[in-house]
């Protein structure tokens, strides 16, 4: 049964700067985890560079994604992760001076990652460096007037460091995505960014193996402008997000809620703001 589940996780993988479930678990050999994460972002704020401008046509874009995520740990230094997105997106765009509604739903691009970690366990703390090559597989549709994917194979790399004591948690991550050439001559811009999570572990129970983490996230990113043929949600921009993260766990179950407030945004030319971001996830490790 365990082999079947592991094989299923192998078949459905993708990764980003963050690990499925949490950076912390599963760190045991032959451990695995699954997580369902709902993510929402969007806005009807129109920007030119850093400035908000009048949105007379009511342009907007909202994206809901439900991620099915899995991780398998060979031993604590080698993991395999997969993220499968199911996307529902809608927008109002300007076509020849008229607002036009567009929407699309379906499977997005699967991301597969291979986190390689070097742990150091000492009295009262554990820390690890991680190096994660990733691959984004063009499984999402690139057809229609609002395609979910640009249809390209993309390669990612991330470097991370996390350190944890019984009371404090910190994670720093850098990532870079190199975008390939997609279908219909679409080309999304490369991106890179920084993630920082700082948090406390204010309560836990040894008896019930339950507790909570309270963290604060800071994410900064830069995305190169896509080419003229790009039809997806991608846009060239610099962004800084920040906001709280709440994590509760009991035994092998974990719940995570995250709100990211868009603190800074500069878009290329005129574009819709990405808006605030909210996510909820439930995961389990075995």
């Amino acid at each position: 049964m365990r082999r079947l589940l592991a094989a299923a996780l192998f078949l459905c993988t993708s990764s980003h700067a963050h690990q499925p479930v949490m950076d912390m678990a599963p760190r045991w050999a032959n451990g695995y985890g699954i997580q369902i994460r709902y993510e929402w972002y969007g806005s009807n704020d129109l920007k030119r560079g850093r400035d908000d401008i009048a949105n007379l046509q009511g342009l907007e874009r909202f994206v809901n994604t439900t991620w099915l995520e899995g991780v398998y740990t060979f031993d604590r230094s080698v993991r395999l992760t997969a993220k499968i997105p199911f996307v529902h997106q809608r927008r109002v765009v300007d076509e020849n001076g008229l607002p036009v509604k567009q929407s699309a739903s379906g499977l997005g691009d699967i991301v597969i990652g291979l986190p390689l970690k070097r742990y150091s366990n000492r009295r009262g703390m554990t820390q690890n460096w991680s190096f994660t090559p990733s691959l984004r597989v063009p499984t999402g549709t690139s057809s229609g007037d609002f395609p979910i994917s640009d249809g390209s194979w993309d390669a990612g790399l991330s470097l991370g460091f996390s350190r944890e004591t019984p009371k404090f948690y910190q994670l720093y991550g850098l990532y870079y995505w190199k975008e390939g050439s997609g279908k219909r001559r679409m080309q999304t811009g490369d991106s890179f960014g920084l993630d920082v999570n700082l948090g406390i572990h204010p309560w836990h129970s040894n008896e019930t193996n339950s507790g909570i983490f309270l963290m604060w996230d800071l994410s900064a990113s830069h995305s190169d402008a896509p080419n003229q043929q790009n039809l997806t949600t991608a846009a060239g921009a610099d962004r800084v997000y920040t906001g709280p993260i709440f994590v509760a766990y009991r035994q092998n179950l974990m719940f995570r809620a995250e709100f990211k407030f868009l603190a800074y945004e500069r878009v290329d030319n005129i574009a819709l703001s990405r808006g605030n971001q909210f996510s909820l996830s439930v995961g389990a490790t075995f």
């Binding site: 599963p26 554990t126 944890e164 507790g211």
Partner: protein, 110 residues
């Protein structure tokens, strides 16, 4: 009938009165109980563990980075196997003590 129930109660008490031996392992890096499930999972499978106590025979205390195990009465724990199970769970076992009947800890030499 009442006598039978009473006798069954006394027998139950007697069986529970057989207290298993406890051993305490200092484990470096053990600072998160959510992350320590692998230790519980691996150690609880060891044949000398008394799973009737703690969580499947294993108790994790992250403040002191301690793992307490309950060993079946009359059995000796395989310390090498115990350490390997903890390492496979992602952590570094350092030393192990046996809990004496008066609560004192005595270091187990390997």
């Amino acid at each position: 009938m009442k006598i039978k129930i009473f006798l069954a109660f006394i027998l139950t008490l007697a069986s529970n009165a057989v207290i298993a031996d406890d051993y305490v392992v200092e484990v470096h890096g053990l600072v998160c109980s959510f992350c320590a499930q692998g230790v519980i999972k691996n150690v609880s499978k060891l044949p000398f563990i008394d799973q009737s106590r703690f969580t499947k025979g294993v108790k994790v205390e992250i403040e002191d980075q301690k793992v307490t195990i309950s060993v079946k009465s009359g059995e000796r724990p395989d310390i090498d196997g115990l350490f390997e199970a903890i390492r496979s769970g992602g952590y570094e076992p350092i030393e192990v003590w046996v809990v004496q009947s008066d609560g004192e800890l005595t270091k187990v030499e390997r």
